[in-house]
């Protein structure tokens, strides 16, 4: 059952990611990215990360993707135009990316811990209680620094979106 759920949602994630790269219209790409994020949320649930799965759906698939769609529609972005010239990066980049993927997959197969595998319900330490306890004791300083980062991001967005620049 676990393996079947994993394979189903992994296949959906990979298909949506391929669609993201192949589509020329940004709205189709954005909707594919929502599909990737939704299936990744299911995989987080399988790994015992209830809180992360909820945050993934609310923050990523909800807030951030709505921001993306908002900007795409605001700018009235159209599909990419076809270019005639053969790009050199197509000749160089495809073998490089494939080599990277094969190398990383080989290393993972060789080095990954041979444990009992992932079973749903074996690890239950990813709920909101555990996350909150760790966030407000061990990771209190990074948490506070993050609030400053967000403050700077708000200021930056306001300054950049003014009319005069």
């Amino acid at each position: 059952m676990d393996a079947m759920l994993f394979l189903t949602f992994a296949a959906i994630a990979v298909a949506c990611a391929i669609n993201l790269v192949l589509q020329t219209h940004p709205i189709a790409s954005a909707l594919s990215l929502v599909g990737v994020m939704g299936s990744l949320a299911v995989l987080y649930l399988l790994l015992g990360g209830e809180f992360i799965a909820a945050v993934q759906l609310i923050v990523y698939a909800g807030a951030i993707m709505v921001l993306f769609l908002f900007v795409i529609m605001l700018l009235n972005a159209a599909a990419e135009k076809k270019v005639k010239k053969p790009a050199l990066k197509g000749v160089v980049a495809v073998p490089l990316v494939l080599t990277f993927l094969v190398l990383v997959a080989y290393l993972i197969q060789a080095q990954a811990p041979r444990g009992t595998g992932v079973k749903f319900g074996e690890f239950t330490g990813g709920g909101a209680l555990d996350i909150g306890r760790s966030l407000f004791s061990t990771y209190i300083l990074p948490f506070e620094v993050t609030s400053i980062v967000i403050l700077i991001a708000i200021l930056g967005a306001v300054v950049l979106a003014r009319k005069e620049i």
């Binding site: 990611a17 990316v97 494939l98 993927l101 993972i108 990954a112």
Partner: protein, 116 residues
């Protein structure tokens, strides 16, 4: 187990528990697709979405390792990655709006005023 599942499932040679390496390889595949989108797309918004895809792929391996180590630290890391991604999206989309207002284009090859 499949015995209480309403539809009789076909007897596939699937393992009872998913190996951790499957999650890590899925993460590597998604990351490579993100790199490919970053390199091949010319729309500035699609390039930005490929970066988000790469961040998601890394989050998946963080959560997988958190499962393996039975520790909540990986979840905290991916939580911080999500927070930074939200801040990055706000600033990046503001930059894209400014670029579009000044150049009237979203093609990444036409925004090349820094090229010598």
């Amino acid at each position: 187990m499949p015995s209480e599942f309403p539809i009789p499932l076909p007897a596939l040679p699937l393992p009872d528990a998913v190996p951790l390496s499957w999650y890590l390889i899925l993460s590597a595949i998604l990351f490579s697709l993100g790199v490919a989108g970053f390199l091949f797309r010319r729309n500035i918004i699609t390039v930005f979405m490929s970066i988000e895809l790469m961040l998601n792929a890394v989050n998946l391996s963080f959560v997988a390792f958190a499962y393996q180590l039975k520790s909540v630290d990986g979840h905290i890391f991916s939580f911080f990655v999500m927070v930074i991604a939200a801040a990055e999206a706000a600033v990046g989309l503001a930059i894209i709006l400014t670029v579009f207002r000044n150049k009237q284009t979203l093609e990444i090859d036409e925004v090349s005023s820094l090229r010598l």
